[in-house]
């Protein structure tokens, strides 16, 4: 088999991706030292990290969310911080503030926990909107302003925010515009019986291995550049756009029954993130090109929080996931 030369050298891209993605297995092995199972979550973490996106994680407490991001930060030799969001939290508690310094008789800047490569925003929906906004603005701009000074956040910068799906009392639900800034919304489930047995044994024996830094931050930044080079054919682009447009105009895709169930479809950010996430997925599968499987693998996580359901849908217990399922099962794969 030979490669056709049409401006894009797929073979070269493939070789580059093979080379650049070599650290993925290494990273996985390191993460697997302390995290049992949760392969799904780890893959999404990697996608977020490689795609320069952020992740909203939904799952009950105790599913190794904190451990995962903490371990990831250790494995890539990055800094990690955790912010527990509470109703009395202030924006300054997240991004930092100016503190009066008696010695120099002036204000000095105290940076907040957001100045880290990996930030865990625990229970983000427990803090009021102003704190959420401060965090989300930093996520979007990769920059924080304290006083008169703007600070660039160190790259890679990955925020993993969590939400507890079972408690809604006393929470401040993230508005759609804010949720849209998360590249992925991942819903994680309990580990399997075998996995939980391993977790239980390892905890009882205190037999966790030490996590070593196996990847440098530069490697991650290089990998990000490589991800951008992953080849995406026009047919895949069309496939992605068909999915996105089907969330907006389902009747045009033979899905008229969904029209009353969708209150709003995915934004352009949805198509951008779906394409990026598909490229990242191809990258972690060590491929230099995107195939429809890559799109299908990430479509739920990218669109879950971007497709709004109507009251009618809620009344019938139809979630955005079911709507996405119907869409991807209707649209022909290229």
């Amino acid at each position: 088999m030979e490669q056709i030369n049409t401006g894009v050298d797929i073979r070269a891209i493939n070789e580059k991706i093979e080379r650049e993605s070599a650290f993925i297995d290494l990273l996985r092995n390191e993460l697997n030292k302390v995290i049992v199972g949760q392969k799904y979550m780890i893959d999404r973490l990697l996608i977020g990290m490689l795609g320069d996106g952020h992740i909203l994680l939904e799952g009950v407490p105790g599913l190794a969310k904190t451990l995962a991001i903490n371990t990831l930060s250790k494995a890539v030799k990055g800094s990690f911080s955790r912010v527990q969001f509470t109703p009395d939290l202030l924006p300054a508690d997240v991004i930092g503030t100016m503190i009066y310094n008696m010695k120099v008789n002036d204000f000095s800047i105290k940076k907040g926990p957001i100045f880290a490569n990996f930030v865990l925003a625990d229970e983000i929906n427990r803090a009021p909107a102003k704190v959420q906004s401060a965090l989300l603005e930093a996520m979007q701009e990769h920059q924080v302003t304290i006083g008169d000074t703007s600070f660039k956040l160190e790259e890679p910068f990955l925020v993993m925010a969590t939400q507890n799906p079972i408690e809604q009392e006393g929470t401040y639900t993230l508005p759609e515009a804010q949720v849209d800034r998360f590249m992925l919304k991942v819903v994680i489930d309990y580990p399997s019986l075998q996995e939980e047995q391993m977790i239980m044994r390892a905890n009882l024996n205190k037999s966790w291995e030490k996590v070593n830094a196996v990847v440098s931050l530069d490697t991650i930044l290089n990998a990000r550049k490589a991800v951008q080079e992953v080849y995406m054919d026009e047919k895949i682009e069309k496939y992605i756009l068909d999915i996105i447009f089907a969330t907006r105009y389902p009747e045009k895709y033979n899905l008229a029954d969904l029209k009353d169930l969708i209150s709003f479809g995915a934004s352009p950010r949805g198509s951008i993130n779906l394409a990026t996430a598909a490229k990242c997925y191809a990258f972690i599968k060590r491929r230099g090109y995107v195939i429809p499987e890559d799109v299908r693998a990430v479509v739920h996580d990218v669109l879950r929080h971007r497709v709004g359901v109507t009251y009618e849908a809620e009344a019938e217990n139809i979630s955005s996931i079911e709507i996405i399922d119907k869409i991807v099962n209707e649209i022909e794969v290229p």
Binding site: V8, K285, R296, I321, I331, P334
Partner: protein
């Protein structure tokens, strides 16, 4: 000269008209006139002052049978009295006697008095009458009965006319798509493959189009022949669905066929999404694979058995399956 006797005659008949003849205390006969012209009607009434056990006999007409009963009315019941009415006429001039009638009342027979009727002709003086041309024969409007009697055989034509109208005007003419849909999937796929060969796509450096069409033909064939969702499935989803279908339906689908399909689809993915260009020998080999796949997946008369399995497979939508078990997608994509 005749005026006086004529006057007397009129008086006599007027008296008869007004005179009520009492047969006895219980039966009375009454008539509105005893002198009529040909065709005029006489109203004759038999009045009985009783209501129980009264039997009116059939009216006995004159011995010459010149009088005619135009209508025999139902017995009219008023307070303590029954009235039987007749309308009589005659079309021959002369004097006719209506004989005594016998009415049974509570087993007793009562006789009425006979009545004499004079029926006169109309005097016509042709000398004073203006002459008119002979009128043409007047046609009478035909009734439905006339039509039914004359044209009943046309009813036999109605179904034929109805069929012609249905055939030419009402019947939905078969579209090209419907005609194609009637062709068995196998024959259709064979025809399409032959048509694809004639296009000489890969020979003209249009390998991507060639593989796109080739896989479309196979996917459509699988969808129609096995009812397995193929057009909306990715390569790995389709292979998994086929394996499941094979296990659950018990159809004789060989593993070789599935492996050949998988090879072909994977190669097609590379061509379509990674700008790969296989050698001519490889393309020809894949073309042969297509024939083998068509034969290998051909179902004879086992449709009923497979329908249950198909439903099961369709229920478990691939994307949902992949969401729950991302391993499927990931491993196959690998």
């Amino acid at each position: 000269m005749y005026a006086f006797p004529k006057f007397l005659g009129w008086c006599f008949y007027a008296l008869v008209l007004l005179f009520t003849i009492k047969v006895n205390a219980q039966v009375t006969v009454r008539t509105d006139t005893t002198k009529i012209r040909i065709g005029e009607q006489i109203r004759l009434e038999y009045i009985v002052d009783a209501q129980d056990e009264v039997q009116f006999p059939k009216l006995v007409l004159d011995s010459l049978q010149k009088m005619e009963v135009v209508k025999s009315f139902d017995v009219d019941t008023i307070k303590n009295r029954l009235i039987k009415k007749y309308a009589l006429t005659s079309f021959d001039s002369g004097r006719y006697e209506l004989p005594q009638q016998i009415i049974n009342i509570k087993g007793k027979k009562y006789q009425t008095k006979p009545i004499v009727f004079d029926v006169s002709t109309v005097a016509v003086d042709t000398t004073k009458q203006k002459l008119f041309p002979i009128k043409a024969i007047q046609s009478q409007a035909l009734s439905i009965k006339d039509y039914a009697r004359n044209y009943w055989y046309l009813l036999l034509l109605l179904p034929i006319i109805g069929f012609i109208i249905w055939w030419f005007f009402i019947r939905k003419k078969e579209t090209e798509e419907e005609r194609i849909a009637k062709i068995p999937p196998f024959e259709m796929a064979v025809q399409q493959l032959e048509s694809l060969d004639k296009k000489l796509l890969w020979q003209n450096n249009k390998t991507k189009e060639y593989y796109s069409e080739l896989t479309d033909i196979l996917r459509t064939y699988i969808e129609k022949e096995l009812n397995v969702p193929a057009l909306e499935s990715t390569t790995s989803e389709l292979i998994n669905a086929l394996k499941k279908f094979k296990n659950e339906s018990g159809l004789d689908i060989s593993n070789k066929t599935i492996i050949k399909l998988k090879d072909l689809l994977k190669e097609a993915d590379l061509v379509k999404f990674a700008k790969s260009k296989p050698y001519a020998e490889e393309i020809q080999m894949h073309r042969k694979y297509a024939d083998v796949i068509l034969e290998g997946l051909k179902v004879e008369e086992e449709i009923t058995e497979k329908e249950d399995v198909v439903e099961k497979i369709q229920e478990e939508t691939p994307s949902k399956n992949d969401l729950e078990n991302p391993k499927n997608v990931e491993e196959d994509a690998k």
